[in-house]
Amino acid sequence: MPDLGPLWLSICLAATTTVLLLLLGTPLAWWLATTHSRLRPAVEAFTALPLVLPPTVLGFYFLILLGPASAIGSFWVRVTGEALTFSFSGLVIASVFYSLPFMVQPLQRAFEGVGLAPLEAAASLRASFADAFFSVVVPLARRGFLSASVLTFAHTIGEFGVVLMVGGNIPGETRVISIQIYEHVETLNYAGAHILSAGLLFFSFAVLLFVYAVNSRGRLHAT
């Protein structure tokens, strides 16, 4: 029986990251989808950074940014009494940034597809912006929300480099499933590595299949 601790930790990390990114990514994606600001390309580029940077680069900067010597890190130590680096909280912060494009890009495309027309219609029917956003935009962009959440969750599950740099390999705190696989291979426990790797492989395929199936259904509906 393999140790299920790392699997559970991965799921906790992915779920927390997904929820936080839904809260942070939705306004950001809406702004990107509707703004005429000149800052838009810069913000879009920044959002897409995690897609191209090696995770070690992100991990390295996060290690410095969150370390006890930094402003954020020392503030965290003062408030909670614990360091951010090599902790679950640190992992969450790094993951939020690392998975940002997986939340923001599908949402932005979904919001662009919805457009401003339904919002104007809702406004002409006495709905305030917040009312119209939740009663019209969110339901119309529900496929985007589903894709974005599923991709964010899956991408966080599959994270390795950033986790290793920021979190290290502490059982029950930062040893997520990908780290556990690395650990198995290092200790030549190929059987354990096989079980977890195959599990992740099937999980990832199932997630992508789900996303593509949902999106192609959307395309059929649109015509």
């Binding site: 027309a117 219609a121 006495r126 912006f129 529900r142």
Partner: protein, 367 residues
Amino acid sequence: MQPETQSLLQLDVAKVYGDFELNVTTSVALSGVTGLFGPSGSGKSTLLRIIAGFEKDVSGSVRTPDEVWQDSHSRLYVPAFRREVGYVFQNARLFTHLDVSGNLRYASDRSSGVGPEWDDVVSALDLAPLLQRSVAGLSGGECQRVALARTLLSKPRLLLLDEPLAALDSARKHEILPYLEALPGRFAIPAIYVSHSVDEIVRLAERVLVLRAGKVHAQGNTVDVLNSLESENEFAAADSATVLEARVHKQLPDLHLTELLFEQQSLFVPALPSHQLGQRVLLRVHANDVALATSSPRNCSVRNVLAGQLAQIQEFPGSPFALASVDIGGVTLRARLTRHAVHELKLTAGAQVYALLKTATLADRDL
């Protein structure tokens, strides 16, 4: 007809985008239907969007009798959802995640005060059979009926209609027009109706505001404004037309006709069964459809013969045609004739003539 109140929407607005400038200073009566008319790109839809509150970046002001909606000097801007204005879009903009009754409930759940009630609106627009349908399965005409109902259920104090027929084919227009015609009277909500179709304006609006290149070109009573626009277009005599204001005199159901009275003379038009006796009807008569005779014709199939006096004959050198203006009780009716006919009949100003209008040409061909 309700008495004309002095309730006015005062507009003093300017907006520049690209090389187009909208600059409108006028007031619109908040009663009955005002047509906002002009060619494409004249700024009608932009003006309507400004009134609705969809355009924040506007210089100048928009005022109702009880409230200032927008004023760039005091940086005041009342957002669209607080203006109690209903907007019917060209392409309906129904919410596709809701069914028909869901769309209607979206409006009724958020409205308050006095105004059209659910049962009344559903029956006025014949929506009972559609309520459970999904929006995706509706025809263009059905979508517009649902959109109208949804807007009415928001209990607006002012109804803005942005070319609600433009996206529909001719048959669908015929399906929606009777509803549009009946609504202002039934629900007593003032409306501004944007269109580039003269025929729609004639049929629906009692007042008209004409925009050209972003400015007010003409404004006033529909008959006067449209007739003055027509005469300006003399060179385009082929398109010339006259708007006549007649009243329903008698229904002739056996013949499928309605008899109208225009300046004490009878006119027979295809039946208008929903019209009351005495109700006003505007007819747009194209100069091409009018023939003239020097004596009252006998043994002739044309039912509509209007006696009048020839006021003017304008001949176009190098063209086979002339444009005759006939005065009928103070209204000028135009007829496009051949110059050949003008000479043979010895038509000159001041002569007594009879204008002949075929009933078939008085059907709403363009609608």
